[in-house]
């Protein structure tokens, strides 16, 4: 320290000190002052900006979702659907049932196949719905758990029952009662999606695979078993295998199902958890057996007779895809008329013949037999009584349950 006491410094040293303060590295230049004050402002302002963000509650008050209806002035609707979920003509250029609807009602349908995945689709429409804006869609088709969430958040519009005579009369009893939409006030099912066990008989060397227990324990299937990334299907089927009802289970049951599957993961019995991509793996034989959606199985069988399916004795889970009118949609009435149209028996039969999923319309069998008698006998499209009796649906979850369960499931599937 001593050498810096000014009176002991020579003139040259003093000059050097002065220089270092004004033009050396320690100099307080304009730039360093700006930089320092900038950092200070950022630190102080940053905290303010950060706390100003926040995400407002997504939930809307009941009854506020209904928007002004422009149906009578604008004869049109925009319909968002999954791919391969609408009948098309041989050349793939027209959609017969939709065109017949437009011809009859004068309502033009803008049909888009922009739903590939429930979680992604929710991510896409969520910002608009949360902000109370029109998504530009009058009718969307989402799986029941997402439909339940959208209704729970108050993001769906109530349907006018007087516009739904066919839907009301023809909805089959299996789909009438759902705990997330009592009385079907907001939604009507487009299809039922049974989750079954599919196997490639070449890969299993002719062995039948018909239970979740076998999927998880049969050593001959080791490393070639697939489960679905759709939590309700995978857990639901496992719950049934454990003797629990997916429609009425507790946290402990859920954990037991997770534990059961975790064992399968740990001993490398389970190869992957898949979305739609299991179909190619199964056809190639990379997956010997897996949980599968019935409609896919029918389509796979058409190309590859070695693909077989089995309904577990313990029962199976049926999910549904449901038509909803999102909040702020401009053409609720037109959309409702389209829902009702697809519950007319000849129309429903035409659709069912094309898309190969369980038809939620009661009494469609006779009409379907006129188009294709083989399909009308297929229990994966028109469930017989024995088949319907084994069907279970996954109960709806509260927001907290949903987060907690999805978290555990995400950990199981390694994501």
């Amino acid at each position: 320290m001593e050498q810096y006491e000014t009176e002991r410094l020579s003139a040259a040293q003093l000059a050097a000190v002065r220089r270092s303060l004004t033009s050396g590295r320690g100099a307080l230049s304009r730039r360093s002052l700006l930089r320092a004050s900038g950092a200070g402002v950022f630190a102080a302002g940053g905290a303010g900006i950060l706390s100003g963000c926040g995400i407002p509650p997504a939930k809307r008050e009941a009854g506020t979702a209904d928007s002004d209806d422009h149906s009578d002035k604008e004869k049109q609707i925009t319909f968002s659907n999954w791919t391969e979920y609408m009948d098309t003509s041989e050349d793939g250029k027209s959609r017969p049932t939709l065109e017949a609807f437009t011809k009859r009602t004068g309502i033009a349908v803008k049909y888009t196949e922009d739903i590939n995945d429930n979680v992604e689709f929710f991510g896409k429409i969520q910002p608009q719905l949360a902000a109370g804006q029109d998504t530009g869609r009058d009718l969307i088709n989402v799986t029941d758990w997402l439909a339940a969430r959208i209704i729970r958040l108050g993001w769906a519009q109530k349907l006018d029952p007087s516009l739904l005579p066919h839907a009301y009369a023809n909805l089959s009893s299996q789909f009438r009662r759902v705990d997330w939409d009592p009385g079907r006030a907001y939604s009507y099912p487009w299809t039922g999606i049974p989750c079954v066990i599919a196997y490639n008989s070449r890969a299993t060397r002719g062995r039948k695979v018909d239970s979740v227990t076998q999927l998880l324990d049969d050593p001959s299937l080791k490393g070639r078993v697939g489960f679905l990334t759709e939590m309700r299907d995978t857990i639901g089927m496992t719950l049934l295998d454990l003797g629990k009802d997916p429609g009425r289970f507790t946290d402990a049951d859920y954990d037991a199902a997770i534990g059961r599957l975790q064992k399968g993961v740990d001993k490398n019995q389970i190869r992957r958890f898949t979305g739609n991509d299991y179909t190619s793996d199964l056809a190639k034989g990379d997956l010997a057996a897996c949980l599968a959606w019935a409609g896919d199985v029918i389509q796979l069988q058409a190309d590859n007779p070695e693909i077989k399916f089995a309904i577990p004795a313990a029962g199976y889970v049926t999910a549904t895809d449901n038509l909803l009118v999102p909040a702020e949609a401009r053409h609720r009435k037109n959309a409702t008329r389209l829902i009702d149209y697809y519950y007319e028996l000849p129309v429903a039969a035409q659709l069912a013949a094309y898309i190969n999923y369980v038809c939620p319309v009661a009494g469609v069998g006779a009409e379907l037999a006129k188009i294709d008698p083989e399909l009308a006998k297929n229990p994966l499209i028109i469930p017989d009584e024995a088949m319907a009796a084994k069907s279970h649906s996954f109960r709806s979850l509260s927001s907290e349950e949903e987060t907690a369960y999805e978290e555990k499931f995400a950990k199981l599937i390694g994501a």
Binding site: S51, I55, A58, G123, F273, K284, D286, S399
Partner: protein, 309 residues
């Protein structure tokens, strides 16, 4: 200076225009910067601030999220998901090393030996980009299918026994194992390694090689003392361009991997879309960013290159 030295009799109005043009001229760089800065502010800074805010919020989708300065989210996320972080760094690091091993000879060949084939080879390097990332990754599912020719050969030769022992494969399959994920990453990011390597190799004056030869350096010595040091900028930028995106990638792990190969990108995706736990997802993104930044900084310091081009 010329203005002040002008005789006082010079017309007064002459001054302001000179002054104005110089101001305008000084503003030119800022105007040129403006589009880029605006772009970065809107698409980088704002989302970053928004994510930073999200990471310290608590709440649920239904109740909304509020900033509560809940920094514990970071700690929870780190303790919960550190295996996925380590795995991401390991896979990305391995893929980067493989890219360098595969890419360097190829870039060398294109730069020095290809002659008139040079442009064609460069186009071939970029050609995979003409198809979508997803399609290219899905193609690997067919290439590596169980019982397919590739797996059969690897199995017969005994390579799979070695990788199995290393924990990279399981039994006699490659798909749904770490090896498949690393292979996919290596394939998808290889061009990002080759192109910078090529640019820096191509700049090396061939006369330097001749000079080294004149000084009795063996070809291997020439490579070690001349070529490789001069290509360092390419090596550094190539490894960065490979490592950074690879460590955040989730497509390869999802399509080619299994439950035990999930990378941090998969966790972030599932926290955002599936669990709807936005704070954890945002915190994980920030941690990933920090980890990559630190790794890269240390690496650049070690590699000791000033210019990365």
């Amino acid at each position: 200076m010329t203005v002040t030295e002008a005789p006082p009799t010079s017309p007064a109005p002459a001054r302001p225009p000179v002054h104005r043009t110089s101001v305008r001229r000084r503003l030119v760089p800022y105007w040129l910067l403006l589009p880029g800065v605006l772009w970065l502010v809107v698409f980088f800074v704002l989302p970053l601030v928004y994510q930073a805010s999200t990471s310290v919020q608590t709440g649920s989708l239904e109740q909304g999220f509020e900033v509560t300065w809940h920094f514990a989210t970071y700690w929870d996320a780190l303790t919960e998901y550190y295996p996925q972080f380590l795995r991401s760094l390991l896979y990305a690091g391995t893929a980067t090393a493989l890219c360098l091993l595969l890419g360097y000879p190829l870039a060398y060949l294109i730069a020095f030996k290809a002659g008139r084939w040079r442009n064609l080879l460069l186009v071939l390097v970029i050609a995979p980009f003409f198809t979508s990332f997803l399609i290219r990754t899905l193609a690997w599912k067919t290439i590596l299918a169980d019982g397919g020719p590739v797996v059969e050969v690897l199995n017969t030769v005994g390579v799979l026994d070695v990788t199995s022992w290393l924990g990279m494969t399981a039994g006699d399959r490659v798909l749904a194992t770490p090896l498949a994920v690393v292979t996919g990453l290596t394939y998808n990011f290889l061009p990002f390694m080759i192109l910078p390597l090529y640019t820096s190799l191509e700049r090396i004056d061939p006369r330097l090689h001749e000079a080294a030869g004149d000084l009795y350096a063996k070809p291997s010595t020439t490579f070690r003392k001349v070529t490789f040091p001069l290509s360092m900028p390419g090596v550094v930028s190539g490894t960065l361009l490979t490592f950074i995106p690879a460590s955040g990638d989730y497509v390869n792990a999802q399509l080619l991997g299994s439950t035990d190969t999930r990378m941090i990108g998969n966790v972030i995706q599932s926290q955002f879309l599936r669990v709807l736990d936005y704070p954890t997802a945002a915190a994980l993104s920030f941690i990933l960013m920090a980890v990559v930044l630190i790794t890269v900084t240390v690496y650049i310091r070690r590699a000791g290159t000033e210019d990365l081009v």
